[in-house]
Symmetry: C2
Subunit: 114 residues, 2 copies
DNA sequence: CTATCATATGAACAGTCATTCAGATGAACG
DNA sequence: CGTTCATCTGAATGACTGTTCATATGATAG
């Protein structure tokens, strides 16, 4: 069975090397986090220094609520962390992988302008 | 101007180091490509060897049409390329950055299981 | 305690997007 | 040519998701 022409052996070979469905889904979900301009900007903003919510909102010229929503998503994914300082909630990058991943994407974009 | 408490100096500092809006958008668009389970699976399938459309469809147990749509997106983004071989259209990874980016994401997922 | 500032939250809306279905294209082969 | 197989394409649909608006929470200062 399978289709008309037979490449079942090749398929099995590839299938064997393919990570589990769950891992591949997690991988997709991870990249989904980076796949939004606002979130990318937030993460990038936190590259150099931690920032409070309203500073990020000002920086990106967006409503505080929008930033807050995205920060929540990033925090649930453990890409950022936060701490209180008086009235301010200060957010910071929680993981150095964030820099590595964005860095790779950056390289891809800047290297091959042909 | 600005908000009630003043962090304009910090904001300007960060803003100076922030890449252009256009680049950040491109970055988001790039990661968006990886942010879909089907596309991740397709790309991963092509890690080891090039494959024709129907082989990918079989491998992922999905309709050929769905695969074809996603391949088109990946090709427009120049992440994959294709060549004809008889009746078959064979797709392959067009860029080694794809491996690097997915590899980074993979590392993030596998390293920190706490 | 009350007013105020920073932030969080929930519902609603709009836009995006992946999949499906039906049909078109295009190469190979008799 | 006409058929067959592999692939592509476009429209339609349903699901998802980012933003906004209005409001709630929570901490601080007076």
């Amino acid at each position: 069975m399978a289709s008309k022409h037979d490449h079942s052996h090749a398929i099995e070979e590839v299938a064997r090397q393919l990570p589990s469905d769950e891992l591949l889904c997690d991988l997709g979900d991870l990249f989904k986090l980076f796949g939004d301009t606002t979130r990318i900007k937030i993460l990038y903003s936190l590259f150099e220094s931690e920032l409070c919510v309203c500073a990020i909102a000002e920086l990106l010229k967006m409503e505080q609520s929008a930033i807050s929503h995205q920060l929540k998503i990033l925090k649930e994914a453990k890409l950022v962390g936060s701490r209180r300082s008086g009235k301010l909630n200060i957010y910071y990058l929680a993981d150095d992988h964030v820099r590595a991943i964005i860095g790779q994407g950056f390289e891809h974009l800047t290297e091959d302008e042909k």
